[in-house]
């Protein structure tokens, strides 16, 4: 997952080449970088700034505004536990507690091996499945704390 600086910049350049030098592509570019690296490396942001000719402050503002973008590396598997109203009242916080116990990380953190990162989100739009979580693109509904351990163990590279 960890890129050598030289290679990293090359990858950013190939992302940038796909887009015209216009500000309106900024979000799309940042999403692509996020997808490639699992986060927005600082050198990459500098490259984007130079390519689009916009100030770093605007980049930083956007990077901190959207939840889908992060400035710190995320795990290879991103666990999103829904804490919307329906999930909240059906015990989503117990699920978070269980994950915390299993992986010893809090929301916003990454496991030491870089495999999992945990976050809570406001709604996944699957309230009928409450409480629900999603690991990368896979949904797990009607969760009970006892199910968490198996799910985490079955999630592998």
């Amino acid at each position: 997952m960890h890129e050598k600086p030289g290679e990293g910049i090359l990858k950013v350049k190939s992302i940038l080449e796909k887009y015209p030098k216009e500000r309106r592509y900024l979000l799309a570019i940042l999403q692509d970088i996020q997808k490639t690296y699992n986060y927005l490396p600082r050198e990459a942001l500098n490259e984007v700034r130079d390519y689009l000719g916009i100030p770093l402050s605007s980049l930083y503002s956007m990077a901190t505004f959207y939840k889908a973008l992060s400035l710190k590396p995320k795990g290879r598997y991103v666990i999103k536990v829904c804490d919307g109203t329906a999930c909240h009242i059906r015990g989503s916080l117990d699920i978070v507690e269980e994950i915390k116990k299993q992986l010893s990380i809090s929301p916003g953190e990454v496991t030491k091996d870089g495999k999992f990162s945990l976050e809570t989100v406001n709604c996944l739009g699957s309230c009928a499945l409450a409480p629900v979580m999603v690991i990368n693109d896979k949904y797990y509904g009607n969760l009970k704390p006892a199910m968490v351990k198996d799910i985490l163990e079955s999630t592998g590279d």
Partner: protein, 263 residues
């Protein structure tokens, strides 16, 4: 175009904002995020007024409401007073550290906050004027970061900003004094970055950062031979005008003498 503000009739241009007309005619409407230099924020909502237009009434922010027809405006009706009190209460809960907000709180008789947890030191109301001023001046060193409850104004990565030129426009435009500037021994510290100050070549007072000077030079293409502070520049311009006027006067007198001789 006629407009009635608090039962008095005033003249207004088409499209002029209510606040501007009111201010011109000495009617006080409280504001926080309004600045004549960088208008159009409309984020503090303090300047709300009640507008009666074509039989309907609504509450609008006077700093952004253009006058396009005959309207009646009330700047301090009971409804407005009540709503403004609420706004001030929330602003005070957000930024209790600001002197200006403390004054407003007193003026509107707002009790101490007990319902919300407050950060006594906080002064920023997140109006965004500083960001806009920085953008207008073109160095764009700061921006709003995060969103929702954790939103704040900060430089990129919350480190001393590389793009900052230390002009202190952000601090000057800030209505609540939330941006700290310190000056000592020829140094200026803002956003945790320390700038070296240059002296005025006339009075010897420190007044401008090197980055600011370079920026002006590059942006306006002026290579100033002497570096004058505001006061000395005014003085020097005035002196130049006086000497120019004197020269003109001499010329005029000479010309008159010449004509007299000729006649």
């Amino acid at each position: 175009m006629k407009v009635i503000i608090d039962d008095k009739e005033f003249e207004a241009e088409y499209g002029e904002y209510i606040l501007d007309v009111a201010r011109r005619n000495g009617i006080h409407i409280p504001t926080l995020c309004h600045s004549d230099a960088v208008p159009g924020q409309g984020s503090c909502r303090l300047c709300i007024v009640e507008v009666y237009e074509r039989g309907k009434n609504k509450v609008v922010v006077s700093c952004l409401y253009p006058i396009t027809g005959e309207i009646k405006v009330y700047t301090n009706s009971e409804k407005i007073h009540r709503m403004r009190r609420n706004i001030i209460r929330l602003l005070a809960a957000r930024a209790p550290g600001s002197e200006y907000i403390k004054k407003l709180k007193e003026e509107y008789g707002i009790p101490e906050e007990t319902r919300f947890k407050v950060d006594e030191k906080e002064k920023c109301v997140l109006c965004g004027l500083c960001v806009k001023a920085c953008e207008k001046l073109g160095s764009m060193a700061i921006s709003t970061v995060n969103r929702g409850a954790t939103k704040k104004v900060a430089p990129p990565f919350e480190e001393p900003p590389v793009d900052c030129i230390g002009c202190t426009s952000c601090a000057h435009v800030c209505p609540t004094g939330a941006i700290e500037v310190r000056e000592y021994e020829g140094k200026r510290v803002i956003w945790n970055r320390t700038f070296e100050l240059l002296k005025c070549t006339s009075c010897g007072r420190y007044f401008i950062t090197r980055e600011q000077y370079e920026y002006m030079k590059n942006r306006h293409g002026i290579d100033m031979k002497e570096l004058l502070c505001d006061r000395c520049r005014q003085k020097s311009t005035a002196e130049k005008l006086v000497s120019l006027y004197k020269k003109l006067l001499v010329k005029k007198t000479l010309f008159q003498c010449y004509r007299l001789q000729k006649d």
